[in-house]
Amino acid sequence: MTESILALVPTYGLPFLFGVAVLAAIGLPLSSSMTLLAAGAFIAVGDLNLARSFMVALTGTVIGDQIGFQIGLHAGNAVEGRLSRKPLHAQRIQRAKHFIDKFGGIGVFLTRWLMPPIGPVTNIVCGASDMRWLRFTLWDFAGEVIWVAIYIGLGYAVGGNVEVMANMLGDASWLLIAGLVAVLTGYRLHIIFRKHRQKFSK
């Protein structure tokens, strides 16, 4: 499976790179990180052109992110209209929107290259919570430039077994995601626990 995907990189080159970038950004289970690592290695040996591969991968990912954002925007409006009839839900939706408003930009930026596994979900959530399109697009573009540069760069510089390397980078991303969730839930628990104690010590 992996080998047949890798064989498509030198055979179909840029169109293949573009297709994988778009589809993976939308959220289809294709390893765009491994494809980019392989592309980097093929660039190093002269089978692919660096500037063109970079532009094609970047354009593809940004287009895929835009599609995810639009899906979230349209699906979100439909779902929100129904849920908002209940006051409790409406309140929660407002809180979620407030959160995205506050941290959405930097969140989009960081999920692009530091936590790529949750990138596609982030696109949909941002669209669904009516994040400003220009804000999303600018942060997205900045983050994707770094992502493409890191993965092509690693494939170019390190080479070797791209499958193992892609797994390793995936593990590192999930480690950051799980660590972040642990810190956030831990912090929330800490605040609740403190309030709880104050209530009973009175």
């Binding site: 290695a41 390793m168 480690l175 839930t185 628990l189 609740i192």
Partner: protein, 109 residues
């Protein structure tokens, strides 16, 4: 007094699960990094190009194209699998030829 965590079951379970997953991934990543030098060398495989093999094994591209009796530039983007098909030989035979050429070159150095 109601136990504190009963009001916040989801949060507590989420926190413990996230901590456990973090530890698990940390161990797995460290193991990956320790074994990376062993896994770095890839076996020659059908999806690679001549250039890719040359790069991985740090030999000249011409050495490999000469071993297969083809012109380096003409076959640049072809995978080993398609070269084997074009030459009507099996892929393992072609990989053997390359491996022999690489081993001979390394022995000579």
């Amino acid at each position: 007094m109601k136990p504190f965590w009963k009001d916040h079951k989801i949060l507590v379970v989420g926190f413990i699960a996230a901590c456990a997953l973090t530890m698990l991934l940390l161990v797995s990543l460290i193991a990956d990094l320790v074994y990376w030098p062993k896994h770095r060398n890839v076996e020659i495989s059908g999806w690679m190009t001549i250039g890719y093999v040359a790069h991985s094994y740090d030999v000249e591209k011409e050495l490999l194209s000469d071993a297969l009796g083809i012109e380096a530039d003409l076959r640049r983007h072809l995978t080993l699998k398609s070269i084997a098909q074009a030459q009507e030989i099996s892929l393992p035979t072609l990989i053997d030829t390359l491996q022999t050429a690489i081993d001979a070159e390394r022995a000579a150095q």
